[in-house]
Symmetry: C2
């Protein structure tokens, strides 16, 4: 049995777990790989820094370049753009296969890296970069290679799913749920990237590139976070049989000019409680895939964390080793289909709209008229009377709460409808506007 040298770049939360698995489970990994996997070294910025996992001191080095030069498989878990990018290119030049979990680098520079790897006849693996431990790369690019994916809906950010799930199960408001998430280490001190949907947007573009073989620029993602979601929104959703989830949605659609295109958007979304994604609780992630022949599929698991992500990384290392052992040319991800990137005008979605309206004859007709004028059709309209809990209605006139779910329409027409409704004199306020999927 041959021995393959494995170089590990980075030894944080995930890297230290990868090192532990490579050192502890050598026998199993050798049997599955067809080669012994020797951890040749671990490149870090400071060999003396404290580590969570106890690892042999002699493995550590600050000379990443030298480590890479000698390796058969290079695992890049440093994160960020440089020196990660240069070291990956160096590895590829030396004919090593590369395993990376570097979302940011792939989102920014994936296609160039794929091409480089293909030209050098080595493989680039990145299962860990998309939804942590959830196997999604192979199912999409191999199992579904005989099908056509039409849509991907992902709960790909554990922090926001934890917050929304807390709000749903305990009735907490956003600020308290965020504090709970921070106390448990699910949210960072500066939670902006998570709660504003930016992390989900980056993962959405990676999912789009896998599912549709199309590079999607991060700045073309329409992105809305969860900071404006209130306890009242959550409660209204529950009353109506829905749950609110932050989804990254990558969708293949036919644009107005008839050509196929792809859109990616991130926003809080109402989902029916019977939808499989509605059962994704806590900090778990899930990716829901719709394909022409396979129909609906879902992949569920932990999207982050040292050990789960390390499982995905080591799976890729075994795959790389098997490929080296079995020979044959490598296969890389393609962006060969490069579908048109669709903007807001082409996105079809349906809206949930919550309104406080005056309870007087003709209100429903006036509102329905506005929808009709904008070419938006109404799927469900429900009215609830309430007088006591509305401030400012002290003159004795009754108010009512109106909840409307529309059929699918363009973002532009839906947004224009909401603006026009705000101007109606019978409308006290628009209390909530959320997008709806899965109905």
């Amino acid at each position: 049995m041959n021995t393959l040298k494995v170089a590990l770049l980075g030894c944080g939360n995930v890297g230290s777990q990868v090192a532990r698995i490579l050192l502890d489970d050598g026998q199993d990994l050798a049997r599955r790989s067809g080669a012994r996997l020797e951890l040749a070294g671990i490149a870090v910025r400071n060999v003396d820094a404290p580590r969570d996992v106890e690892l042999p001191r002699e493995l550590f080095t600050e000379d990443a370049e030298a480590l890479v030069k000698d390796a058969d498989v290079v695992i890049e878990l440093m994160g960020g753009m440089e020196p990660a990018r240069s070291l990956i290119l160096r590895a590829v030049e030396h004919g090593a296969s590369v395993v990376t979990g570097n979302k940011a680098l792939l989102a920014a520079d994936g296609p160039a890296l794929y091409e480089m790897a293909a030209a050098a006849d080595v493989e680039l693996y990145f299962e860990a970069a998309v939804a942590g431990a959830i196997p999604i790369l192979r199912p999409i690019s191999e199992s579904l290679a005989g099908d056509r994916i039409t849509r991907v809906l992902g709960i790909v950010n554990g922090t926001t799913n934890y917050i929304l799930d807390q709000m749903d199960t305990t009735g907490a408001d956003f600020a308290d749920a965020l504090k709970a998430a921070q106390a448990l280490g699910y949210a960072e001190a500066d939670p902006t990237a998570d709660i504003e949907g930016l992390d989900a947007a980056a993962k959405g573009t990676l999912l789009a590139s896998l599912a549709f073989h199309t590079v999607f620029p991060l700045d073309a993602v329409r992105c809305q976070g969860i900071t404006s979601i209130t306890a009242a929104d959550i409660e209204a959703a529950r009353d109506t049989g829905f749950v609110i989830k932050l989804l990254a949605i990558a969708e293949k659609q036919t644009a107005k000019d008839g050509t196929a295109g792809v859109s990616v958007r991130v926003h809080p979304t109402l989902l029916p409680r019977t939808h499989p994604l509605a059962a994704v609780h806590g900090a778990f992630n899930a990716v829901f895939v719709e394909a022409e022949n396979a129909g609906q599929l879902m992949f569920y698991g932990q999207g982050a964390g040292g050990r789960p992500t390390a499982s995905a990384v080591v799976g890729d290392v075994v795959a790389a080793a098997r490929r080296i052992v079995s020979g044959g040319r490598g296969r890389t991800e393609t962006t060969g289909e490069q579908l048109q990137v669709l903007g807001e005008d082409s996105i079809l979605t349906s809206y949930y709209i919550g309104l406080d309206v005056a309870d007087q004859p003709g209100v429903l007709a006036k509102i329905a008229h506005v929808f009709a004028d904008h070419g938006v059709s109404i799927e469900v309209m429900r009215q609830t009377m309430h007088t006591e809990d509305l401030p400012g209605i002290a003159d004795g006139s009754a108010a009512a709460e109106l909840r409307i779910i529309t059929h699918r329409g363009t973002e532009a027409s839906l947004a224009a409808t909401v603006e026009a409704i705000k101007d109606l004199d019978v409308v006290n306020s628009v209390t909530s506007v959320l997008r709806v999927e899965g109905v």
Copy 2:
């Protein structure tokens, strides 16, 4: 670009959809495979039989042997043992890769087929044989190759899931839900294989062989169907926050003598409503996997049906083509770990027990005493008073309903506990005994 000849054996529900995809989506498949996939012919018993899908008549042949002899990839969708087995062996001898969806053949003869394929340096693909369209083979054997799977819980029979879901959502009893399933084509006229759990048992052994690299004989599966599940069971489960699902459970455990072993069992199971498997509705399937590092994963989708299953078959055809194009030695499934097959004595599970008991002082103590005597500890015990709805308690003495969930124990000790409880004079009847997972 090379052309690869694809032979299709069988043209039923799945086969006809496979043929349609190969004929209609040739351009996409060629781009993804790196070779043109030419459907060389379709072997059937009777070329004149009517088909669901319109296909060119000249493709049909009754001479399967001749078709196989010339093919690069052979798709076997005839089902059953012979001539499927002989034709697969003929294909392997001729150096063709084989794609099959034949559960029965793989359960009976998988290891011999894997060895044969390995010896001939060709590959055998069978994603469609396990849970239909759900990608499970690659996630388990590739994505999780760097991890250790400890347990697999599968909803792998759509018929029984549909029936139990109907009972749960409509309050129907078993007989009515079965009729509804038959009316919709989800259950066959003779539903025995589904409702007695035999189909789930066969799939459970396939999952065990994938997850634990161990051949598991079908007759060692402990198997119980859903025919005895009543509307009252379902209602009691709902009251307690549970749902009843028919699960195939493949588990790695340490046997009493300290060696690692595997057990496979199929039975109706109480699951907490918050468990991801509880959200699998209708005829959908899902496979829930627990691994040491990855933690909990779930794969959800359609477990049957022509188009979904065809998606899995064509995915395998593309994989086979890619391997032929890229060169390199094939890789086959191994059963190399061959863990010990564990029997009932080694299976640990927890029980839900429903009892009708006399409502008099000391009843709980007597019952708790029986549990203690058998070394079974109680997790939850809940008592509900009811007098009016119990026949035979006309003497004015009150009766109560007692619901007990135990901690995990061996099947033998749990079963002995139930027997001993039946003999207590304070126990009117044992109304329900169900196993519990996911708590």
